[in-house]
Symmetry: C2
Subunit: 349 residues, 2 copies
């Protein structure tokens, strides 16, 4: 009547019988213990394949019974970031047989309630931006020696586990890409000053300009808050300039989308009269048209790595890890592509 139980119930014992060995040997093969005779390993692997055996995560988790619940803090249910974040975290959690608990907070966070969870409900915590830049959380974590990983936060080397991309280099590369397409007047829209990545991205822009021997023009650098509206307003100011820039690099995609809207309002054609670049490759980047050239962070992979890191027995103790993951410059419709520059940009110096 219900065939799924029958098939789902293949256990390590079934495989052991089939292969003519003990359950323990199966366990060893599954966990790639080196001291299994090759011939035995093959026998077992065949049996596993034939029966379509998959280890029972619950039983594994029960046996190990160390870390069980990992908390992922999030700020906004409709955040562009959230889907990918959850996807990656979920994959790692599932593989490890650990439960993922998601907890909503906002920057006006109630630290006390978090502290209570530390004591009882969670065994580790993952903190994505913008919360990862909040001093309060970092102190709390340090005070409890609580296993934690911070995503894309300020670099305090060795003070906590961190996973991020090299924002400085990414901004440098994207600016370079614009320069190598012939732009010399490139506007920049800064991010919210309360997030540390904002400064890092700005510095990358500076470096590229300097290396290319281009002037740094204060008029071309505008404040932003990572919001669409702030990007739109900043771009309007740029469009009103006597000699306006031929390209705008916004510190995130929402602002870049705002820049595109502003360009439309001013009757400026994109990308021919104005090139636009963003940062993050969030959903809006591929929703709008033309699609945004942007910097892609491997968000899912970062989340996955975060879970794996935090699962480590002594994630709460020094030495802490800082993991820098590879980013990718993505060139779409808001930027001109020319064959000659294409290669040099994909693999910058």
């Amino acid at each position: 009547m219900n065939q799924r139980n029958k098939s789902g119930k293949v256990t390590i014992v079934d495989v052991a019988k089939k292969a003519g060995v003990s359950p323990m040997t199966i366990s060893r093969v599954v966990n790639s213990d080196p001291k299994v005779k090759p011939s035995t390993r093959i026998k077992v692997e065949n049996a596993i394949a034939e029966l379509n055996y998959a280890p029972n995560v619950a039983a594994r988790a029960l046996k190990g019974s160390t870390v069980r619940r990992i908390c992922l803090l999030y700020g906004n249910p409709s955040s562009a970031y959230l889907g990918e974040l959850l996807l990656g975290a979920l994959e790692a959690a599932s593989e490890a047989g650990v439960h993922l608990v998601v907890e909503r907070t906002d920057p006006a966070i109630n630290l006390e309630s978090l502290e209570n969870h530390f004591e009882s409900d969670w065994d580790a915590i993952i903190v994505p931006p913008p919360m990862s830049d909040l001093a309060g959380i970092r102190q709390l974590v340090a005070k409890h020696n609580f296993p934690a990983v911070f995503l894309s936060s300020a670099t305090i080397p060795g003070r906590a586990n961190e996973i991020r991309i090299d924002d400085h280099r990414a901004a440098f590369e994207m600016t370079n890409a614009l320069i190598s397409e012939g732009h010399t007047r490139i506007g920049f829209i800064k991010g919210n000053p309360n997030q540390s990545v904002s400064e890092r991205r700005l510095q990358g822009y500076f470096l590229a300009l300097t290396e290319a021997g281009l002037p740094i023009d204060d008029y071309l650098i505008r404040d932003g808050l990572f919001t669409y509206r702030s990007g739109e307003q900043a771009t309007s100011q740029l469009m009103a300039l006597p000699s306006r820039p031929t390209a705008v690099f916004a510190s995130n995609d929402d602002m870049a989308a705002g820049a595109l809207a502003s360009a439309a309002r001013h009757g400026v054609a994109v990308p021919t009269e104005l090139a636009i670049a963003g940062f993050d490759d969030s959903p809006i980047a591929t929703t709008i048209w033309p699609a945004l050239s942007t910097v892609r962070q491997p968000v899912a992979k970062m989340a996955k790595t975060a879970v794996e890191t935090v699962l480590n027995a002594d994630a709460g103790q020094p030495p802490f890890k800082t993991i820098v993951m590879p980013h990718e410059i993505i060139r779409r419709g808001t930027t001109l592509k020319t064959e000659s520059t294409y290669l040099s940009v994909d693999r910058p110096v």
Copy 2:
């Protein structure tokens, strides 16, 4: 050295000792078995509170060993939908001590590979749009009597478990909201014809027009594909009309955002010269400026309900359930608000 183990390791046995009863009694209290003497229940509850005991999901799952892995199909990692979907599903899965497995597919789906998973890897499946409108998946599910829930798909009453909102009524109400603000020429941008909600939303628009005694003008109804670009193009056509509409109702938010872009390009002010309404309340609705008036689906709650439904022992057998969840008309900047209409729209007839 590591205080989390200490606190995390409170087991049912510890509680039993503390309360002076057997572990079984604790289990009964935790699972609200009615045959526990009230006085005992209180004793146990106190002990639980004092020790901060929380049941070990792994052990539970291991013991129960019925449904263990629920698959959530998804189409696009950067989908606006995904974050909320995962959030809701995760909550329900966590409560039930069940593992959530997410599997990427696209409409050009490989049905055979799915079928293999049925046999072994999953115990139930949740299918959100756009996959939920694919005939192939429905047949596959039916053939295996596989426990499944389809989200926002075509209504085939009683043929499968369905969870959706009343798209027809929601579109009706949103159109009504526009009408009660004084609009009489309301453009409509249709959704992709391969998704059944497109037709339902169009019909709701028709009904509102008809009930209000307004003419249905073919010129005001334009094809769309649920993409930003198609919304932008459709709106451009509407803007080029000799007597253009004063409002546009797009079948989803991406197209409404495209409509906004088109309005900007044509120098049409929003919302004063043109009101715009969308559907879904996806992230883009609150990213752009002015923010979109739209119809909110309780996506997280729908996903949660889906997990709970599919967990039901005989979810794979008839009778199948169809659950209609409440939607919400959300009025933001792309639509004019006037005190007089506000109330009548929040609670339409």
